[in-house]
């Protein structure tokens, strides 16, 4: 497929869904392993939570929240396209998904600091 055919909101939405899904799938085992290990005692968990208050880790957390929100809204968009009949509002769905994901990241950011 040529590049002009790909330079389209629905292609960008597809790419974002792929990338966010891939990154979340890689993060998931780390998340479970770290949580499962840290949970062995309140002191150990607090030590882990102190590490998560480092600025760079906070920045990464915001990125993860946006990725998760983007994969959620992009997935809802996909389910709507696959299971609902009317397809004219596809581009609107892309814009709504992007807006909702960024808003979620902002809500998290404002509450984190």
């Amino acid at each position: 497929m040529s590049w002009p055919a790909r330079n389209h909101p629905n292609y960008w939405a597809f790419l974002l869904h792929r990338m966010s899904g891939l990154l979340l799938a890689l993060f998931l085992p780390l998340h479970f392993w770290a949580l499962g290990t840290a949970i062995e005692g309140a002191a150990r968990l607090d030590g882990f939570l102190r590490w998560t208050s480092a600025p760079l880790v906070k920045l990464a957390e915001i990125g993860l929240v946006v990725l998760l929100a983007a994969h959620l809204t992009g997935g809802l968009r996909l389910l709507a396209i696959e299971f609902l009949a009317w397809r004219r509002w596809q581009k609107t769905a892309v814009a709504l998904s992007a807006g909702a994901s960024l808003a979620m990241g902002l809500v998290f950011l404002l509450n984190l600091f």
């Binding site: 799938a25 949970i39 309140a42 607090d46 929240v65 959620l72 389910l79 998290f108 509450n111 984190l112």
Partner: protein
């Protein structure tokens, strides 16, 4: 895997997506609530210890996420690489089981 198997994986991917849509919304809301409270072990464990509803939620959430991640990775690998067949299917199944087990360990850790 035959057409029937692929169809079941497609259905399972949509079914887990539907479960995850609700679970992720709850998770994001809990995240924002938890960081507002100042994110401490005491606050988290006070919410989850001995709470069967949270245990059930996290077990379902982790299982759906593990299946969804495994099927999604399989789709991406089949599109982006020449890897196919039983070795790929076995590898992603193993990965999904490992992720689910790690998730259950964390969920039981929060409960007990």
């Amino acid at each position: 895997m035959g057409a029937r198997g692929e169809t079941w994986l497609w259905i399972l991917q949509r079914a887990t997506a539907a479960v995850l849509a609700g679970a992720v919304l709850v998770h994001l809301a809990t995240l924002v609530y938890a960081v507002r409270q100042g994110l401490s072990a005491a606050a988290i464990l006070a919410r989850t210890e001995g709470n069967l509803a949270w245990l059930g939620f996290y077990l379902l959430f982790a299982t759906a996420a593990a299946l969804h991640a495994g099927i999604g990775l399989r789709t991406v690998l089949r599109e982006a690489t020449p890897w196919r067949g039983p070795s790929l299917d076995g590898a992603v199944l193993l990965l999904a089981v490992a992720i689910a087990a790690a998730g259950w360990r964390a969920a039981f850790g929060l409960f007990a």
